[in-house]
């Protein structure tokens, strides 16, 4: 095991007992299995004798009565100690001590296939000439439900806020998202925790319920989520918004329902959800009132009926079998489909589910787009890419792969001030974003934070515009996989994008008689999904 010389050992002499009183303590020297420390029997002093033998077990640090020892890997621990990294060992200890598995908020961390190994192909002499971002127009609008609804949703720029519930988020954070949506002309989403009344008018840019004074131009939209827990749902709730989203799953924990721990179930949250104050609100993982795809079609039919055929019906999917799942949503009658990838966030989830379950966003998109194409509805039924979107670059890549828009959830929280501590579920968010405590919530000014969110979208929209125009397009609808190249074999294999240098998709995406983009004679992607 190549751990020799891999760790730096430091002892804080300010607090070390032995440093102040030689002879009084030599615990580290006694417990270290590798002779890192040595006790001088004459002076009683302990010193780091040979840090090169340290294997990073940190037994000394654990036994040190004054917490004076720090062990830092000289090389990344992921290389030197993998798979027995410090965090793995600590996790096992935690389970052994408590009998509980780890829960956490936010999303997946660590290396997973993502957009970073994809590069954007700019225009030069042989292709369409680039357009001038500073002096020419670029069409960024996305219309949902154009042919199917009386009141389509017209996103000014190709973004939405991903669904995040009241309960998971504070009321102030929900209000800020609504204001940000209004400033940017995009849509916010109730999430599954019922309605914060203010969302309805703030999302449209109005300062109060009367909806007379439009403070935030151009005004946005409110998507009403319909989910498996059905918290706070009534016919009035459904008619408060501009679209209804049927939640099937989410990226952070596909196959599981929402988790809201008791610490965040306050009086207000309890009133909306109907669960006792302080008790866990755990949504069912599936619809008790849907057993077949036909049932789902009937559900869409009555949702359209009770909303008077005015508003679009959206579906939200977790990352499972994108081709078949998207096909099912199309069959069920979706006007738009959000597909959330592995890196998608959450207010609370079992750690292993967030880390280890689901398909990366980059690998969800090609089959999802193929399903839309096979049904002849690509760019009509809109595809919204979610799951670890961080900026206009990620969004552009998703759109060039065939999505119509991108959603920000985790990034929206960061735009509100979050620093990613992974503890949303505890309800102690010092920025008041995921806390229900009045003293924390008081720190979040919805108007100021809403403006930050609006700014974030404006900046990301400009990024998308830059990339669209430098690749020779005047509309985001013109984007295609030809605007992208994979920079490594893995990404080329996962996505079917052309490999940079090789300038064509990998042969595994070739099917005899296919179109060379991985699509077989039957129009379905290869390998079969």
């Amino acid at each position: 095991m190549a751990v020799i010389g891999a760790f730096c050992v430091s002892v804080n002499k300010e607090v070390c007992l032995n440093a102040r009183m030689p002879g009084k303590c030599a615990t580290c020297a006694e417990v270290c299995p590798h002779g890192v420390y040595a006790l001088d029997s004459h002076t009683g002093e302990v010193a780091v004798q040979n840090f090169n033998t340290c294997v990073g077990c940190r037994i000394c640090a654990e036994f040190c009565p004054t917490n004076a020892i720090r062990i830092n890997p000289a090389e990344p621990e992921y290389i030197t100690r993998y798979p027995w990294t410090f965090s793995t060992i600590e996790e096992i200890h935690y389970k052994a001590q408590t009998g509980e598995y780890l829960l956490r908020g936010f999303g997946t961390h660590g290396q997973t296939p993502h957009f970073d190994m994809i590069t954007v192909v700019p225009s030069q002499i042989a292709s369409m000439a680039p357009l001038d971002k500073y002096r020419e127009e670029c069409d960024m609008e996305v219309v949902i439900g154009e042919d199917t609804c009386k009141k389509p949703v017209v996103l000014k720029v190709p973004f939405v806020w991903a669904a995040m519930s009241f309960g998971a988020l504070s009321k102030e954070a929900k209000m800020a998202l609504a204001i940000g949506a209004a400033e940017a002309g995009i849509a916010t989403n109730t999430g599954e925790g019922g309605l914060v009344p203010e969302e309805a008018w703030l999302a449209r840019g109005f300062i109060d319920k009367a909806q007379e004074h439009k403070k935030w131009q151009p005004g946005g939209y409110l998507i009403i989520q319909w989910s498996t827990g059905r918290w706070g749902v009534s016919v009035d709730y459904l008619n408060t918004g501009d679209a209804v989203e049927v939640k099937i799953g989410q990226g952070a924990k596909p196959g599981m329902g929402g988790h809201l721990l008791g610490a965040k179930v306050t009086q207000d949250v309890s009133r909306v959800r109907g669960v006792p104050v302080g008790s866990d609100a755990l949504s069912p993982c599936r619809y008790y009132d849907v057993q077949t795809l036909d049932d789902m079609k009937h559900m869409v039919a009555f949702l359209r009926d009770v909303t008077d055929y005015k508003v679009p019906i959206l579906f939200k999917l977790g990352p499972s079998r994108p081709y078949a799942d998207v096909a099912a949503c199309i069959e069920a009658g979706a006007d738009a489909i959000s597909i959330d990838g592995l890196v998608g966030g959450t207010g609370c989830s079992p750690d292993i589910v967030t880390q280890g379950v689901g398909i990366p966003t980059v690998a969800c998109l090609p089959p999802a787009v193929q399903a839309l194409k096979d049904y002849g509805v690509h760019r009509k039924v809109k595809l919204i890419a979610l799951g670890g979107m961080r900026n206009g670059l990620d969004a552009f890549k998703a759109m060039a792969m065939g999505a119509d828009a991108a959603g920000f959830g985790s990034a929206a929280e960061v735009a509100m001030g979050c620093r990613v501590c992974y503890a949303c579920q505890k309800g102690n968010c010092p920025y008041g974003i995921t806390s229900q405590k009045p003293e924390m919530r008081a720190r979040l000014d919805p108007i100021e934070t809403g403006h930050r969110l609006g700014n974030f979208i404006r900046a990301c929209a400009e990024e998308v515009k830059i990339l669209t125009m430098l690749s020779g397009h005047k509309s985001i609808q013109e984007l295609s996989p030809e605007d992208l190249r994979a920079m490594d074999l893995n990404t080329a294999a996962l996505t079917g994008l052309k490999l940079a240098g090789y300038e064509r998709p990998l042969p595994i995406w070739d099917v005899p008689g296919g179109d060379g983009r991985g699509n077989g004679k039957n129009g379905k992607p290869h390998p079969e999904v």
């Binding site: 009534s234 008790y288 359209r304």
Partner: protein, 216 residues
């Protein structure tokens, strides 16, 4: 009484005819068993479905009285917030799910997962219920005059489950309690209002063992 013949009509047509017809007078709908989501989200009025009804009858009901003269298929009165839905015959799987309020009466038997995630409605089944009735109930009353199947009242959080007959098995987080005088008076009033032949004194009551039974 105005009658709408739903034969060969789709949901959109029949529900819009219903909207026009409901002017303080009861409306009858016949030949409607092929429609799923009939009488959805009405805030008042009285609708009589003559014969059998399809799935999701009275879904999202918000104040109307909906009667079915024979059997109803699955998901009766799904997600109702107020009003009354009365099924003269049997109801299939999942009657009275996700309801925040209102009353569901099934005069015959009801299927599996009846009153699942009830959040405040009164659900009365005069016959038997299938398995998993009352699963994850958060508020309201489930009253079964006959017998219940397996895993009755599973994961009960709050609300009351009353049963006149027997269950095959009880779900988790349940405990059996004697009926208080209040319970008996409440059941007696329900039985009188809806003309149900049953004696509250013979009923058993099931409540949640703990309000916080989950291990995350």
């Amino acid at each position: 009484m105005k009658t709408i013949d739903a034969r060969n009509k789709d949901l959109k047509d029949v529900n819009s005819l219903l909207k026009e017809a409901l002017n303080g007078m009861p409306v009858k709908v016949k030949n409607a068993a092929h429609l799923h989501g009939l009488a959805a989200g009405f805030k008042g009025g009285e609708i009589v479905i003559q014969g059998n009804a399809g799935d999701y009858i009275g879904v999202l009901n918000a104040g109307a009285t909906v009667q079915v003269t024979r059997n109803a298929a699955r998901y009766v009165a799904d997600n109702m917030t107020s009003g009354t839905v009365i099924i003269a015959g049997d109801a299939d799987y999942g009657a009275g799910q996700y309801c925040y309020g209102g009353t569901v009466i099934v005069r015959g038997n009801a299927g599996d997962f009846t009153a699942t995630m009830n959040k405040g409605a009164i659900v009365i089944v005069c016959g038997n219920v299938g398995d998993e009735a009352g699963t994850y109930m958060l508020k309201g009353d489930l009253i079964v005059v006959g017998d219940a199947g397996e895993n009755f009242a599973n994961c009960l959080i709050r609300g009351n489950v009353y049963i006149g007959g027997n269950w095959k098995s009880l779900g988790s987080n349940t405990k059996v309690e004697p009926l208080s005088a209040e319970d008996k008076a409440k059941l007696k009033a329900y039985f009188e209002t809806y003309q149900i032949d049953a004696d509250p004194a013979t009923f058993k009551k099931i409540v949640a063992a703990s309000e916080k039974p989950f291990y995350h």
